[in-house]
């Protein structure tokens, strides 16, 4: 079902709520909020057609700060709540705001099932690799060995990589962005908005209080060009300060190469295709991490596939047209009945 467009050009002010934003100064969430407020007018739907849904955590306060319809749920359940919103009211553009704890710990089950079903919702996963609102316990994405309040001798768990979960659940859209790069954040969010189906964007987000600089191995100003590979559809995978490095597929794995060395030219590089149904290369791209590899950013996977909601509405429509039971009176009198 089509979502209604606004008849007038809306602005950021139309979506700014009257609530005081209570995130810590310097928190990465501010940049994500600014990006969302910036793209909503650009997407063009009516103000009333957006619906923000969240769970629990710092990032889950998001709906209060956007002047749309919004629902602040309970811990881990944003995906399930959003599922009900979208099935009940398919004319809404549904946005989930969730953190790494909310999405991949307590809400992990809902997260993978939402993706598996290809529910038509947008999912912003704020990954700061820590529980912030409860003040600094390790999450499923915290690095192994890290000292936190609940891991005084170092985290024993192996971490989740959210991208792998998306691929594992045969997700149709996965992208990665960074909170300190507003322009690319906006671009990735626009791509997410255009996608039909569950679109997950993992934002590497900094928690200045409890996990400061957790992403600095890829975000540090001095090395970021060598540690970030920004993917563009149909273009070879090139990165590095002087754009001298690239990614090749060698046998069944990826490798970093230097362009110009050992006869390597741009033509030898892997060309990005986010639209391939097979998750193999997308999975490898999502897995890349320093120091051996750069981390992949931008749209890693964007595959066309019927959404849960498209199939659902088609069934509803066909059955409404063909069924002999048109109202509850018909139902009550169907089958074996008799007069007394």
């Amino acid at each position: 079902m089509a979502i209604e467009h606004s008849q007038v050009q809306l602005t950021k002010a139309d979506f700014t709520s009257d609530q005081m934003v209570k995130w810590c100064p310097g928190c990465g969430d501010h940049a994500i909020l600014a990006s969302v407020l910036g793209i909503f007018p650009e997407i063009g739907y009516k103000k009333e057609s957006y619906c923000m849904v969240s769970g629990i955590g710092c990032s889950s306060r998001f709906p209060y700060y956007v002047n749309t319809y919004g629902f602040h749920g309970i811990h881990g359940r944003a995906a399930a709540i959003a599922t009900g919103v979208k099935i009940a009211n398919p004319r809404l553009s549904v946005w989930i705001n969730s953190g790494d704890g909310d999405a991949t710990a307590i809400g992990g089950n809902h997260f993978i099932h939402l993706i598996r079903r290809n529910m038509d919702v947008n999912y912003i996963l704020f990954n700061n690799r820590i529980y912030g609102l409860t003040k600094g316990q390790y999450s499923p994405t915290t690095k192994q060995g890290q000292i936190t309040k609940t891991s005084p001798y170092g985290v024993i768990d192996y971490p989740f990589n959210p991208g792998e979960l998306v691929m594992g659940a045969r997700g149709t859209f996965f992208a990665r962005a960074i909170d300190n790069s507003p322009k690319s954040l906006g671009e990735v969010f626009m791509e997410m908005a255009k996608h039909d189906g569950t679109a997950v964007v993992e934002v590497l987000q900094n928690c200045v209080i409890f996990n400061d600089k957790t992403h600095q191995e890829v975000t540090n100003r001095d090395i970021k060009e060598d540690r970030q590979l920004w993917l563009k559809q149909g273009e070879p995978m090139i990165f590095g300060k002087d754009r001298s490095k690239g990614i090749v597929l060698k046998g069944n794995h990826l490798e970093v190469v230097e362009i110009g060395k050992d006869g390597i030219t741009e033509k030898d590089l892997l060309v990005h295709d986010a639209t391939r149904e097979n998750t193999g290369v997308h999975m490898m791209l999502a897995q890349m991490c320093p120091p051996e590899f750069p981390m992949a950013f931008g749209v890693i996977r964007a595959v066309k596939q019927l959404t849960y909601n498209q199939i659902f509405e088609k069934q509803m429509q066909e059955l409404t047209e063909t069924s002999s039971i048109k109202c509850v009176d018909d139902l009550l009198n169907s089958g074996d009945t008799w007069e007394v």
């Binding site: 319809y69 399930a80 109202c327 009550l332 007394v340």
Partner: protein, 615 residues
């Protein structure tokens, strides 16, 4: 068919038992429907194991179906007049349900040494005098079935599938019923396999004729009195189907899409299965990944403007607790159906109990009142499901509807209502572009907040699980506001009592020496027990509760008319303690049972007689 000079009976109980897979549920259903078409009132109850196919011929694999037919039927009956046992294990485990002197029909062919041993007998009960107090009919059902279809099926396996039809034919003879309904059922069901239709019809007749030629049964032929029922169109319905249809009816009357978010769980799954069929009626059914997702999706759907429901049983209700609190806090309409089963934990999944009442009333963190109501018959589950939706939608608060395995799986005659007879449902919708709209602005009479549906113009707002400022609905941690909101949420639920019907006596009058009190699925047995004692001249009365939180406003007044009150329930005293906390000066006796079984009329009468006699 000979119909003259037959014994007449007001009511009879037939219990069909066999291995799961022997087709006992179908046999029972066909018999009950035939009786209904023949003018009897009916009630049925399946008694099946938790295992799908336990080892053949073992007690664990026994599946049963009890049918009560007659003139005035309130429950599926205590003990049976005829027990049909298709193998030794089913005889062994069900003999306790047979009345003294009743007819016991066994398939004699199945009493092999092996099967007798598996059932736990040392000797064949057919050969010693252990069944001498009964009219034992040793029918070679398997071999006569094979014989009856020998021209249609040559392989024994196909032939033996119709054994249950032989038993059905025997019962039809004993209760002098026509075979037409079964014929037409078979023709419809197996229209693509005419051989199966032919075979089954032949076997039903073989069973019927076998009895006609058995001397001892000729004198046992009985005519069951017809029921006197209000005029109207009738059908047979189980409590779970009635619940599903009640929700559909409410959605139509409220002009809202119905959303069901559920996870399969015994004995509630049939509600999910039934509603999944009705996309043509706008039912938006979502089978979730777990119980929590089921209710959370329903809360999302409610926020987005649907009549939202989640159906479950006890363990599922436990998992939903936190989310119910969210619905209390966000003051959204939500119907939670709990088809209760034996607990705690996995407990007795296929058996009935009423032990989730405390959970429904109190099982949430914080001060989190919900409306709680209970259906009391399979058929009235339709009306209480409708009522649950109506109260929830018009009062903007979650409601828990309690039914149980006995009501859900049991069936009864249902007088089909016309949708025009049901009340319209009017949720308190907000008006688009209303500049005075605030999410927690309340109706002064009901205290319900307005419902602004996402998509409506000029009403954008945010709600959630954090405490809300009254009126405006923004997040608030103000101490005085929290107290006010706790009070308002409680008061909102209490005010539902303003529109509830008075609690009435169902049997007896105010002069009775003893008032019997029940709630939920026990109504049939309690009513019959009290009626029978009244007919014997005992001074006893009966009232039954469907509205539990809040209670009808005249409850205290009604109780004050009686010196002795006994509260009967299938738990260890949850409703009686709830009444004690509400009416501190009143004293209540209690009668409780937790065996996974419904009340028997005989045990109730014995208990009531004891109290009446001892005064």
């Amino acid at each position: 068919m000979t119909t003259e000079k037959l014994n007449e009976k007001k009511g009879v109980v037939v219990r069909f038992v066999g291995d799961s897979g022997d087709g006992m549920q179908l046999t029972g259903t066909l018999f009950s429907e035939t009786a209904a078409l023949d003018g009897n009132d009916i009630a049925t109850f399946p008694d099946y194991p938790a295992e799908i196919r336990a080892p053949h011929n073992t007690i664990a694999g026994v599946s049963g179906f009890q049918v009560h037919i007659g003139k005035r039927i309130y429950n599926s009956g205590d003990n049976c007049d005829v027990l049909v046992a298709m193998n030794p294990a089913s005889l062994k485990s069900n003999l306790k349900w047979a009345k003294k002197g009743s007819i016991i029909i066994v398939d004699a062919d199945t009493f092999t040494d092996d099967a007798i041993g598996k059932a736990g007998y040392t000797n064949s009960p057919l050969d010693d005098d252990s069944l001498s107090g009964y009219i034992l009919i040793k029918a070679p059902i398997t071999s006569l079935t094979v014989e009856a279809v020998k021209d249609i099926f040559t392989d024994k396996r196909s032939a033996e599938r119709s054994r249950n039809m032989f038993a059905l034919g025997m019962i039809f003879y004993i209760y002098s019923k026509e075979l037409d309904h079964t014929d037409s059922y078979l023709e419809k069901k197996f229209s693509k396999t005419p051989d199966v239709v032919k075979a089954n019809k032949a076997v039903v007749r073989a069973g019927y004729n076998f009895c006609e030629n058995t001397d001892v049964l000729q004198s046992q032929q009985v005519r069951v009195e017809q029921a006197i029922m209000p005029k109207g169109r009738y059908r047979n319905i189980t409590g779970n189907i009635a619940t599903a249809w009640g929700l559909l009816a409410a959605a139509e009357k409220a002009n809202l899409p119905l959303f069901l978010g559920s996870y399969p769980i015994t004995p509630a799954t049939d509600i999910l299965i039934e509603l999944a069929k009705h996309k043509s009626l706008g039912a938006r059914v979502f089978q979730a990944e777990d119980e929590i997702a089921g209710i959370c999706s329903a809360i999302g759907a409610s926020f987005a403007g649907a009549l939202a429901c989640s159906s479950t049983s006890g363990p599922g209700l436990s998992l939903k607790s936190e989310a119910i609190g969210l619905a209390v806090m966000t003051e959204l309409p939500l119907v939670i159906v709990d088809v209760q089963r034996g607990g705690p934990s996995t407990g007795l999944p296929t058996k009935t109990e009423q032990a989730d009442l405390y959970q429904a009333l109190y099982g949430r963190n914080g001060e989190a009142p919900c409306i709680v109501i209970a259906a009391s018959t399979s058929a009235n589950s339709f009306y209480y499901a409708f009522e649950a939706a109506r109260l929830s939608l018009e009062h903007m608060t979650p409601i828990i509807l309690l039914t149980d395995g006995y009501l859900g799986n049991g069936s009864q005659l249902f007088r089909i209502p016309k949708m025009s007879e049901l009340p319209k449902i009017n949720p308190p919708f907000a008006t688009p572009n209303d500049e005075t709209y605030a999410p927690y602005k309340r109706d002064t009479e009901t205290l319900a907040r307005q419902w602004a549906i996402p998509g409506m113009e000029g009403l954008r707002h945010r709600i959630g699980g954090l405490e809300k400022l009254d009126g405006k609905g923004s997040v608030s941690t103000e101490p005085a506001n929290h107290q006010k909101m706790v009070n308002l949420r409680a008061e909102k639920v209490q005010r539902v009592a303003n529109r509830l019907p008075d609690q009435k006596l169902i049997v007896g009058d105010e002069t009775a020496d003893l008032l019997v009190v029940g709630w939920g699925g026990t109504e049939g047995a309690l009513k019959l027990a009290v009626e029978e004692l009244c007919e014997q001249g005992k001074k006893i009365a009966f009232t039954h509760f469907n509205y539990i939180m809040p209670l009808p406003k005249n409850t205290a007044e009604l109780f004050n008319k009686f010196n002795k009150i006994i509260v009967c329930e299938l738990n260890m005293g949850q409703f009686v303690n709830y009444l004690r906390s509400n009416f501190e000066t009143k004293s209540f006796l209690q009668y409780n049972k937790t065996q996974g079984l419904p009340f028997e009329v005989s045990e109730l009468k014995e208990k009531f007689n004891q109290i009446l006699g001892g005064k």
